[in-house]
C-alpha cells in the first residue's frame, strides 16, 4: 500500500510537470504574441504539424517452433517545433490468442536540444493482465552516428521501476532500399511475478528489416526478429508455454504519414 501511494504521488508529480510544461510553453507563446506587435496575427507564424509513423506493422513466422506473432510499433505527434503531444503504441499478438502485450503512451514532448526531445506522460498496458498504468519520462532523438534513440523510464502504479532503450539505424543501401537494424532492451528494478517481469535484464529484441521506400510514406519490408528473455522472465515465459528465445522471419509495412 505504501508503495502504491508513493507511486501515485510520483505519477501526480509527473503529470503535473507535464501539464505545467505545456501550460508555461503556451503562456510563453501567448506572451510573445502579446509583446511582439510585429508578429503575424494570432498564429504568430508558429507552424503546427504532425505525423504518424508505424515503424513496424508486421507478421512474424516463428522459426524452430517459435510462435507466429503479429507486431505493431507506432507513434504519432502533433504540435510546434518545441511543444508536441506524442502518442506511442506497441504490442504483440500471438496467433490464436489475445494480445499478449499491448501498450499505449500519451506524452508531452519538448525540444531540449538540437537533436533531442524530452518526453513525459503516462503509459497504459491493457495486456498482459492485470492491466497496469505507468508514469513515463524519457528522451528521444538522434545520437551521434545517426542512431535513433528512445530511452524511457517507467514507474508503475505499484511503484515498480523499469526502463527501456530502443535503438535503430537506417542504412540507405540505395536511395529507396533501407536496411534497419534495431535493438530494444528492457530492464526492471524488481520482480513483478504477475507480469512475468524479472529483476535486471528482462528481454532483448533485435532485428534487421530491409524496406523498400516506394514513397517515404509506404515502405514494405522483410526481415528477421530475434527475441531473448532472461532469467526469471524466461522462466515465466516457459511456464506460460512460451520460449525464452525465438527467431521470426517477418514481413510487414512501414507507414509514415
Amino acid at each position: 500500500m505504501r508503495l502504491t501511494t508513493k507511486a501515485a504521488a510520483l505519477l501526480t508529480t509527473l503529470l503535473g510537470f507535464t501539464l505545467a510544461g505545456g501550460a508555461s510553453a503556451q503562456q510563453a507563446a501567448s506572451q510573445n504574441a502579446v509583446h511582439d506587435p510585429g508578429a503575424h496575427g494570432a498564429s504568430s507564424h508558429e507552424v503546427y504539424f504532425g505525423a504518424v509513423l508505424f515503424e513496424k506493422l508486421e507478421w512474424g513466422v516463428g522459426l524452430n517452433g517459435a510462435p507466429n506473432i503479429a507486431r505493431w510499433d507506432g507513434q504519432a505527434w502533433y504540435g510546434t517545433d518545441y511543444d508536441k503531444v506524442w502518442i506511442k503504441t506497441q504490442g504483440e499478438l500471438e496467433r490464436g490468442r489475445r494480445a499478449e502485450n499491448a501498450e499505449i503512451q500519451l506524452l508531452y514532448s519538448r525540444l531540449i536540444g538540437y537533436f533531442w526531445d524530452f518526453q513525459a506522460g503516462v503509459r497504459y498496458d491493457p495486456r498482459p493482465r492485470p492491466d497496469r498504468t505507468y508514469g513515463v519520462i524519457g528522451i528521444q532523438g538522434l545520437a551521434p552516428g545517426l542512431f535513433e534513440v528512445d530511452l524511457q523510464g517507467f514507474v508503475s502504479e505499484r511503484g515498480d521501476l523499469s526502463a527501456r532503450l530502443e535503438l535503430s539505424y537506417d542504412v540507405y543501401v540505395t536511395q529507396r532500399l533501407v536496411l534497419q537494424p534495431n535493438l530494444e532492451v528492457n530492464v526492471a528494478a524488481q520482480r513483478v511475478p504477475e507480469l512475468g517481469i524479472n529483476s535486471g535484464f528482462n528481454d532483448i529484441e533485435a532485428g534487421f528489416r530491409l524496406r523498400y521506400e516506394f514513397t517515404r510514406e509506404v515502405a514494405p519490408y522483410v526481415g528477421v526478429n530475434y527475441t531473448r528473455r532472461f532469467g526469471e522472465a524466461a522462466k515465466y515465459a516457459r511456464a506460460e508455454g512460451g520460449k525464452a528465445e525465438g527467431i521470426e522471419f517477418v514481413t510487414g509495412i512501414r507507414l509514415f504519414f
Binding site: 510563453a28 504568430s44 538540437y114 537533436f115
Partner: protein
C-alpha cells in the same frame, strides 16, 4: 460549392491561356485603368485557379488569371495606384520586392506600418511614388502563396535612359513549380528533413567510391569522412531542401520553350528574375557572353561573364549580342542539379527546345561549408532587450569542432609540400582536420619559413603580411569582432587585388594600416584566399588580439581548445590522399569566433584554436562547377554606377547569425525564430554594419525590405546596392545598411520555407534614439 467548381473549370482555361501568352514587355496584362492620368491606376485580382504544368491540374494562385502574375511596367518618377482585389478564400498581400517606398505600402502583413494583410473578399489600395528604375518583381508575403504562383515581374523604366543601349528587352523570370500543396511540403520537411532528398549517400555509393579510390589511404579518408558526417548527424548532400520541382521561365516549362526573338546583330537585354521559392539557379547561355549591366535593379559597371548564380529574389540584367541567326539556349540549372529552366534566343518563335545538356556534378557540402557553432558572439543584436539563443537552435559543438580535423591530410597544406599551392585539395574529402600537424603552423612545430608573424603578445603588431599572398582573414569571425570595435569603428580596409571569376585564392593584398595597438585596427574582411601552403611558419597564436579575451565578449568554456589539444596529431600519412578538386575557395583559416577567447596559451592547442575553426568559405566566391577559365559573376565584380550614400563608417555592428535546426527543419536569426524573436531596432539616419554569420549548411538569400544593403566586397563607394544578399553556408560577410527609411520592415531569408519556419525578423527603423541598448 458548385460555383467554385465551375469557376475553377473556367480558370483552368484561363491558366492555360496565361501560359501561352508570352510575357513580353509591352504586352503587359495589367492595363492602366485610368489612361495617362496621374497617378496611373492598376487593378490586380487574386484568385484560386487550376494550373496544369506537369500534366496534372493543380490548384494555384493567379493574378488577373495569370501565373506568373502579369508584368507591371512603371515609369520612374510617376506615382501609381494599385488596387488589389482578394478573391481568395484566405488572406493575401502583395509585396513590391526591391522597391523603395513608404513602409505602409510595402505589403507585409503585421510588419509593414498599419498593414494587416488583405482579407478574403477585400480590395486594398496601394499608392506610392516610384523613386527608382530597374528590374524588380512582386509577390505575396502571406504564407506560401508565392510558391503557389503569386509572383510577377515589375519593371520601372528610367527617366533618363540607361547608360547602355539595347534593341530588345525581355524578362526571364525563373521559378519553381511543385504539384504538391506548399503546406504539405513544409509538413513533409518538418517530419523528415531529408524527405525530398533522393541523392543521399548510400551504401551503394560508398562501395562505388571505395572501388574508385586509388589507394588504401584514399579509402580510409572516404570512410572517415562518412563517419564524420554521421557523427555530426548532418547530410552533405543536403543542397536543396525540396525536390520534385518543374523549373519555369516566364511560367513555361523547358518543353514549352519560351523564346526571346532577336535579329542578328541586335543587342538583347535579358532581365533575369529568380522568383523560385526555394531554388538557386546557375545561369548560362552556351556560346554567348553575357554583360551584366544591372544587379537588383541598380545599374553597375558592365562586366562580362559566362555564368552567374542567381539566388531566390535576386535580379540580374544582362546584355547579349547573339549573332549568326542561330538558336541559343538560355540555361538555368538548379543548384542541386535536379533540373533546368530553359528558354531560347532565336530569330523566330515556335522552334522546338534544344536538347538539355547533361547535368553538372551535384555539389556536396564540404567541411568548409560547415559553419558549425560559432556560439554567441556577444555583439549587438539590435534588439531592445537582451536576447539569447533558444535551445535546439544551435548545432552541438562537440561533434562539429575541429577535434577530428587533420589538415596534414590535405596535400599542399604543410609547408613541406607547399610547392603545388592548394591545387589538388578537395575539402569534401578532408576527414578529421587537425591543424596541429601543419608544420610551422604552431609553436609545437617551430616555424621554418619566413613570412611568419611572430610577435610577443604585448607588442603592437607591426605585421607585415605582404609576403603572404592570398591570405584570407575575411572569415575569421574571431577578429575584429570585439564589442569595443563595435563601438569604436576604427576599421581599416585592406586594399585587395580582387581575383576575377571563380578562381579564388590568387588575391594579393597590402595591409593598409595595421599598427593599431592590437588587431582591433584590422579589418580583413576584404582579403581573399588564404593559402597556407605559402605561409610556412605562421603562428597566429602569438598574434595579439587573437587568442585573447576581448572586452565585452562572453567568455566561453575552453572545451574546444581542450578537445583540440587532445587530438594527437598523427595523421601525416594522409598527405596526398585527397583527390583533386577545383574548389578551394572555401579555404580559410578563420578562428571560430569566441571559441578561443581566453588567455593566451602557447600550447599547440591554442595555435590550433586560432586556426581552428572550420574554415569558413570565401563569402563571395561562387562555384557553379564551371570548367576552369569560365568567368562566373561574384558580388565582388559588381561596381555600382551610382551610390546615393556617402562613404562612411558604420555606427555599429549588428550581428546577424543565421541559425536553425536542419534536423527538425526550422530556421532562425540569432537563435530565435520569428515567432519568438524581438524586432531589430535601428535609428533613423544611422549606418549599421550587419555581420552575417551563416552557421547553417545552406545558402540563405537574406532580403531586407525598404533600404539597400551594401555588401562590403571591397569596392569602396562602388560597393553594389542590393536588396538580397546570398550568404553561403558557413560564411561570414559584412553588409552596410543606411537606415534612411522610417518604419517597420521585414528582414528574412528568401527561401520561402526558411522564412515560413522562422528565419525572419522585423526591422524597425525609429526616429527617436534608442533608450535601452546592449552596450
Amino acid at each position: 460549392m458548385v460555383e467554385v467548381t465551375l469557376s475553377r473549370r473556367k480558370m483552368l482555361a484561363a491558366g492555360i491561356a496565361a501560359l501561352s501568352a508570352p510575357a513580353l514587355p509591352g504586352s503587359a496584362l495589367a492595363q492602366p485603368a485610368v489612361g495617362r492620368a496621374m497617378p496611373r491606376e492598376f487593378n490586380l485580382a487574386i484568385e484560386h485557379v487550376s494550373l496544369n504544368i506537369t500534366g496534372r491540374s493543380r490548384p494555384a494562385i493567379a493574378v488577373n488569371r495569370s501565373v506568373p502574375a502579369p508584368v507591371l511596367r512603371f515609369r520612374e518618377g510617376e506615382e501609381v495606384i494599385i488596387n488589389v482585389a482578394n478573391r481568395l478564400r484566405e488572406e493575401t498581400s502583395i509585396h513590391w520586392h526591391g522597391l523603395i517606398l513608404p513602409s505602409s505600402q510595402d505589403g507585409v502583413p503585421g510588419i509593414s506600418d498599419g498593414f494587416q494583410g488583405i482579407a478574403a473578399g477585400q480590395t486594398h489600395q496601394y499608392r506610392f511614388p516610384l523613386v527608382q528604375s530597374g528590374t524588380y518583381w512582386y509577390h505575396s508575403h502571406s504564407g506560401t502563396q508565392e510558391q503557389a504562383g503569386l509572383y510577377g515581374p515589375l519593371v520601372i523604366d528610367p527617366v533618363r535612359p540607361d547608360p547602355y543601349g539595347y534593341d530588345r528587352d525581355y524578362i526571364i523570370q525563373l521559378s519553381d513549380w511543385t504539384d504538391e500543396n506548399p503546406h504539405r511540403v513544409i509538413q513533409n520537411l518538418k517530419r523528415d528533413a531529408g524527405y525530398y532528398n533522393y541523392n543521399k549517400r548510400t551504401a551503394a555509393s560508398l562501395a562505388n567510391e571505395l572501388a574508385r579510390a586509388p589507394n588504401a589511404q584514399a579509402r580510409e579518408a572516404i570512410i572517415r569522412d562518412r563517419l564524420m558526417w554521421g557523427d555530426m548527424r548532418m547530410d552533405p548532400t543536403d543542397i536543396e531542401d525540396v525536390t520534385g520541382y518543374t523549373f519555369l521561365v516566364n511560367g513555361r516549362t523547358p518543353e514549352q520553350n519560351f523564346t526571346a526573338v532577336y535579329r542578328p546583330g541586335e543587342t538583347v537585354r535579358l532581365r533575369f528574375i529568380n522568383s523560385g521559392a526555394m531554388s538557386h539557379f546557375d545561369v548560362r547561355i552556351p556560346g554567348l557572353e553575357m554583360t551584366v549591366v544591372q544587379a537588383h535593379g541598380n545599374n553597375v559597371q558592365p562586366v562580362a561573364v559566362d555564368e552567374f548564380r542567381i539566388a531566390p529574389a535576386e535580379t540580374f540584367d544582362v546584355l547579349v549580342r547573339p549573332a549568326g541567326g542561330r538558336q541559343f539556349q538560355i540555361l538555368a540549372e538548379s543548384m542541386g542539379r535536379q533540373g533546368f529552366a530553359s528558354a531560347s534566343l532565336a530569330t523566330q518563335n515556335g522552334l522546338p527546345m534544344m536538347p538539355l545538356p547533361p547535368h553538372r556534378e551535384r555539389p556536396l557540402l564540404t567541411m568548409a561549408d560547415m559553419g558549425g557553432n560559432y556560439g554567441p558572439k556577444g555583439l549587438d543584436r539590435g534588439t531592445l532587450r537582451p536576447e539569447t539563443d533558444r535551445p535546439g537552435q544551435i548545432a552541438p559543438m562537440e561533434s562539429m569542432d575541429m577535434g577530428g580535423m587533420d589538415h596534414s591530410g590535405m596535400s599542399g597544406m604543410g609547408s613541406s609540400s607547399a610547392q603545388g599551392g592548394m591545387q589538388g585539395m578537395d575539402h569534401s574529402n578532408m576527414p578529421g582536420m587537425n591543424h596541429g600537424n601543419m608544420p610551422g603552423m604552431n609553436q609545437g612545430a617551430p616555424a621554418r619559413g619566413t613570412g611568419g608573424a611572430r610577435q610577443a603578445p604585448a607588442r603592437p603588431p607591426a605585421m607585415d603580411h605582404s609576403n603572404m599572398p592570398g591570405m584570407d582573414h575575411s572569415n575569421m569571425p574571431g577578429m575584429g569582432r570585439s564589442s569595443s570595435l563595435a563601438r569604436d569603428p576604427g576599421f581599416r580596409f585592406a586594399v585587395a587585388d580582387l581575383p576575377v571569376g571563380s578562381v579564388p585564392g590568387a588575391g594579393l593584398f597590402r595591409l593598409a594600416q595595421a599598427s593599431q595597438g592590437s588587431m582591433q585596427g584590422m579589418d580583413h574582411s576584404n582579403m581573399l584566399g588564404m593559402d597556407h601552403s605559402s605561409t610556412p611558419g605562421m603562428d597566429h597564436s602569438s598574434m595579439p588580439g587573437m587568442g585573447r579575451p576581448q572586452g565585452g565578449q562572453q567568455p566561453r568554456p575552453q572545451r574546444q581548445q581542450g578537445r583540440q589539444g587532445q587530438q594527437p596529431a598523427q595523421r601525416r600519412d594522409q598527405r596526398g590522399a585527397a583527390p583533386a578538386a577545383p574548389d578551394h575557395s572555401a579555404m580559410g583559416h578563420g578562428a571560430p569566433g569566441t571559441g578561443q577567447v581566453g588567455q593566451v596559451d602557447t600550447s599547440a592547442a591554442s595555435a590550433h584554436a586560432g586556426h581552428g575553426g572550420m574554415a569558413p568559405p570565401d563569402p563571395f566566391a561562387v562555384n557553379t562547377g564551371a570548367p576552369p577559365g569560365t568567368r562566373v559573376l561574384t558580388y565582388r565584380m559588381l561596381r555600382a554606377l551610382s551610390n546615393p550614400y556617402p562613404v562612411r563608417e558604420p555606427n555599429r555592428i549588428i550581428e546577424v547569425r543565421l541559425t536553425g535546426n536542419m534536423d527538425r527543419y526550422f530556421w532562425a536569426i540569432n537563435g530565435n525564430r520569428f515567432s519568438e524573436a524581438q524586432p531589430i531596432v535601428l535609428n533613423l539616419g544611422e549606418r549599421v554594419r550587419m555581420r552575417f554569420i551563416n552557421e547553417t549548411m545552406m545558402s540563405h538569400p537574406m532580403h531586407l525590405h525598404g533600404v539597400w544593403m551594401q555588401p562590403q566586397v571591397g569596392n569602396g563607394a562602388q560597393n553594389p546596392l542590393l536588396h538580397t544578399i546570398s550568404v553561403k553556408p558557413g560564411s561570414t560577410l559584412d553588409v552596410d545598411v543606411e537606415a534612411d527609411a522610417e518604419g517597420g520592415w521585414a528582414f528574412h531569408c528568401h527561401m520561402l520555407f526558411h522564412m515560413e519556419t522562422g528565419m525572419m525578423r522585423k526591422v524597425e527603423i525609429r526616429r527617436q534614439p534608442r533608450v535601452a541598448s546592449n552596450g
